[in-house]
Symmetry: C2
C-alpha cells in the first residue's frame, strides 16, 4: 500500500534543524517514508490525500509518563508534594486493578494519539494491560514496570515488582513487530535499597537493555541521598552499575555539574518534564546546561496527576519559555531545538532506529496540524508556530508506521465510546 | 428574549471562590443572568439549550494585549528583545495602514472569541479600526491609543499620539451601550518625556479615566530609569500624578517592594503577562507578593508577536506553574486564584460593574467548555480541569451580553472567510 500526502508544508529534518518544504509531497510505502519533495513523484500511488493548509511534521515522543494516571487527573491539585503523593495518589493507586489500568491506558492512548504523540515511555504497574492497549491502538511504546523495595534485606529474587518486570520483558519486548519495547526501571534512589539498582544493572547487561529512572526530581531527594550515602543520586546509581548500559533519567531538576558529567559519560538521556516540575514546586531543570554538555534531552509529561494532561505541545511551549525566562535570555531555547527534543531526540532515547524524522527511509510516524485556525494565522514561521502558538487539538492526523490512527477527530483504532464507558466504571470503583 | 441553558456543570462565583453546580440551570434574560440553580426555574423561556457534558464558567478577560499584532505572529522569534523589537517589529509596524490594523483586529477578535475571551484591554495605534471590529463582533473592549514622545521639548498639545488618543476617547468611549470603553495610555517611562504622564494624568482627571501603562517590564528598563531620574518607574509615574485616578500596569516584572506599595496605595491593578515575560527573557513577576499586598492581579497575553497567540488558557496555566515552580511551593497559586484572575479581577481592572462572575444580576458574559474529550476525562475537579488540563479549543460557546458570538466552531458575528482574505492581503502588503 502506497499513499501520497500532497499540498502540505513539510517540516523535513536536515542536519541541524528543519527545512520547510511548502506545498510538498510526502510518499509512504508500507511503514516507511519513500518520497519527500516539492515536485510530484514519478511512481504510482494507491491513494492520494490532499493536505493543503496543513503542516506535516514528525510525530511527538512522550519520554516519561505514567499513562494510566489519567484516571487520577486533578486529584489533590494544589497540595504540597508529600500530601499529594502519600495522602491522595497512593491510596487510590492501591485500589487500582488491572482492569482499571487497562481503562486508564486506553484513555491515555486516545489523548496521546489525538494530541500528536506517536510513541511514549511509560512507567507503571500492570503494564501488560498498557502493552495490549498500545498493540491494539497502533502506538509505539517503551514500557517499564518500576522496581522498588521498602523492605530492608529483601532479596531481589523475592521482589514482586522485579519479577513482574522480568515477566513483562519476556512477554512483550519486541511485540507488534518491535512497536512495543520493554525497558528496565528502578523507580528512584529514595524508593529502593542498594540491591535493586544492582539487580536491574544485571538485567540491562543480560539483555542490552534500556534503563528508565527518576533522578534528583527535588532538592530534598537530592540532599537526603547525600546525607544518607555521602554521594548524589547520580553518583549512587553509577557506583551500583545501573548506568553501565545507558538509559534515561526523568526530571533531573537538582543535578549538580558532576552529575551532568556522569550522565554524559554513560550516554544517559534526560526526559525533561517542565510542567510537572513547576506544578509540584520542584523547580526548573538546568536543561540548557544538559544540552551544552552534549546530553540527549527529550520531553515528557509525567503522569496526568501532576500535569494534568499528556499534551506535548504544552511541554514544548513551556520547555522554551522556562529556560528563556529563567536565564533571562530570549535566545537560549529556540523553536527548532525544542522541536528536536520532542521528536528525533525521543527516538534516540527509545533506541528506535530510523524513527523521529521526516526523511526518506525513516518510519512513517508523522502528524498533520491544521493551520486554518485564527491562532495559527498567518503562518510566517512554521517551527515557531508549532512551538509557541499551536495547541494539541490542532492535530488532525496521526500516522504510525504508515497507519492512520486518528483523522479529523476520529479514532481509527480505539473504540471511543467503550473507552469512556470503561473509564466511567473505573472512576466509580476508585472514588465511590 | 429569555434563554435557558440546562444540564451543564456551572462554576458559580461565591465569596472566595467558585461553587460547582452539577447538572445546573442558567437563565439569561436579555443581557443579564436571571437564574442559577440545580432545579428548573418556574418561569417561561423562549429557548432552551441542552448543555449536558459542558462546563459553563465566566468568560475570560485579556487585560493587556496589542491585538492587531496577530499580523506579526512569529516574526523574529527567538531573538533578543532589542533586536526583535527595533530590528523586526518596528519596521513592519511603520508600514501598517489603518486597513492592516482592521484586518489584524478582526483576526484577533476571532481568535479571542474562539478561545473564550469576552473582553480585552488593548493598546495600539489606529484603535478606531479595533473599535469598529469590537462593536461588530460583539466583544467588550477597553481600547487605548498609547502616547509616546521621543522629541525633546515636544509639547503635549502638539503630540500626534495624544491628539489621536483624545479623538478616540471622544468618538468611542461608551460606544455600543458601554461595551467599548476608551482608556488613557502612556506607553512607558522609557518612551516618553515627563510632560506626557502629566498630560495623561490631566486627561484621567478630567474624565475619571482609567490609565493603561507598561511598567518595569525588564530589569534594564527599571535600572536605567533609576539612573536617569533617581527613582523607579513606579515612583516616577506617581510623582507626575499619573496614578492619581487609578489604572493598571502591564508586566511589572522588576517591581521593588516600595513600588508594590505605590500600586496598592493608588489602586493600580496589575496585568500579569507570564508567557511574554518568559519568552522575551524578562523573568518572573512577583505575583504572589502582589496578591498578598491586596493588589488586583489579572492576566494578559501581550501582543501575539511575543507570545505567539491570544490564548488565556495558556496564561492561566503558566501563571500557576510559574509561581509554584519559582517559589518551590505547590500551594502558592491554586486553580481558583488563577480563575479569578482571568475573570472577575479582569472586570474590576476594566471598571465594568456586574461583570466577570456567574451570578444572578450579572451580565451574561460566559463560555462553555466541552468535557467530552480524552484530555478532560474524568472531570473530578472542574477548576483544576480548566486551569491545568483544558485548551482554548475546548471552548464551544462564547456569550457576551447574552448574545452568542461563537458556537461549536461557528462565528456568529464575524465573517471568517472575509477576515482570512483581508489578512492575506495585509500580509502581502507588509512582508512582500
Amino acid at each position: 500500500m502506497k499513499t501520497l500526502y500532497r499540498g502540505a508544508t513539510l517540516l523535513c529534518s536536515d542536519g541541524d534543524g528543519f527545512s520547510v518544504l511548502k506545498n510538498g509531497y510526502l510518499g509512504v510505502d508500507g511503514k516507511t517514508i519513500c518520497y519527500l519533495g516539492d515536485a510530484a513523484p514519478q511512481d504510482d500511488y494507491d491513494l492520494t490525500k490532499d493536505m493543503t493548509g496543513k503542516i506535516i511534521m514528525p510525530g511527538l515522543y512522550n519520554c516519561h509518563t505514567h499513562s494510566p494516571m489519567v484516571l487520577l487527573r486533578g486529584v489533590g491539585s494544589d497540595l504540597p508534594l508529600d500530601q499529594w503523593l502519600f495522602g491522595k495518589i497512593c491510596p487510590i493507586e492501591d485500589r487500582m486493578s488491572p482492569e482499571d489500568v487497562a481503562a486508564g491506558s486506553a484513555l491515555a492512548a486516545m489523548e496521546m494519539i489525538a494530541g500528536g504523540t506517536v510513541s511514549f515511555s511509560d512507567m507503571y504497574f500492570s503494564q501488560d494491560q498498557t502493552a495490549e492497549v498500545a498493540i491494539k491502538a497502533g502506538l509505539k511504546a517503551n514500557l517499564s514496570r518500576h522496581v522498588q523495595s521498602f523492605i530492608p534485606g529483601e532479596k531481589p529474587e523475592d521482589s514482586v515488582s522485579l519479577n513482574e518486570a522480568k515477566a513483562l520483558y519476556k512477554r512483550y519486548n519486541g511485540a507488534a513487530e518491535g512497536r512495543v519495547k520493554v525497558d528496565w526501571c528502578v523507580h528512584a534512589e529514595y524508593t529502593c535499597t542498594e540491591d535493586m539498582p544492582r539487580a536491574l544493572a544485571a538485567c540491562c547487561k543480560a539483555t542490552n537493555g534500556n534503563l528508565h529512572i527518576h533522578l534528583s526530581e527535588t532538592e530534598k531527594e537530592h540532599r537526603e541521598c547525600k546525607e544518607k550515602y555521602g554521594v548524589t543520586p547520580a553518583a549512587w546509581f553509577e557506583r551500583l552499575g545501573a548506568f553501565d548500559c545507558g538509559g534515561f533519567a526523568a526530571h533531573c531538576v537538582a543535578l549538580e555539574d558532576a552529575d551532568i558529567e556522569i550522565l554524559r559519560r554513560h550516554h544517559i538521556s534526560v526526559a525533561h518534564n517542565p510542567t510537572s516540575n513547576m506544578k509540584l514546586g520542584s523547580g526548573v531543570a538546568p536543561v540548557e546546561k544538559f544540552i551544552r554538555s552534549g546530553i540527549n534531552v527529550t520531553l515528557g509529561t509525567d503522569g496526568a496527576a501532576s500535569n494534568n494532561n499528556l499534551n506535548l505541545f504544552e511541554e514544548m511551549h513551556l520547555a522554551s519559555l522556562l529556560q528563556n525566562g529563567y536565564l533571562r535570555d530570549a535566545t537560549v531555547m529556540n523553536a527548532v531545538t525544542v522541536l528536536k527534543m520532542a521528536t528525533e531526540n525521543g527516538a534516540i532515547l527509545q533506541r528506535r532506529e530510523n524513527c523521529g524524522k521526516l526523511a526518506v527511509g525513516y518510519r512513517a510516524d508523522f502528524i498533520a496540524i491544521d493551520t486554518d485556525r485564527p491562532h495559527l494565522t498567518p503562518c510566517l514561521d512554521a517551527p515557531a508556530l508549532i512551538v509557541y502558538a499551536a495547541q494539541a487539538s490542532d492535530v488532525v492526523l496521526t500516522v504510525v508506521d504508515g497507519k492512520i490512527l486518528f483523522e479529523n477527530g476520529d479514532f481509527k483504532t480505539i473504540d471511543k465510546e467503550k473507552t469512556y464507558f470503561d473509564v466511567k466504571k473505573a472512576v466509580e470503583r476508585l472514588y465511590h
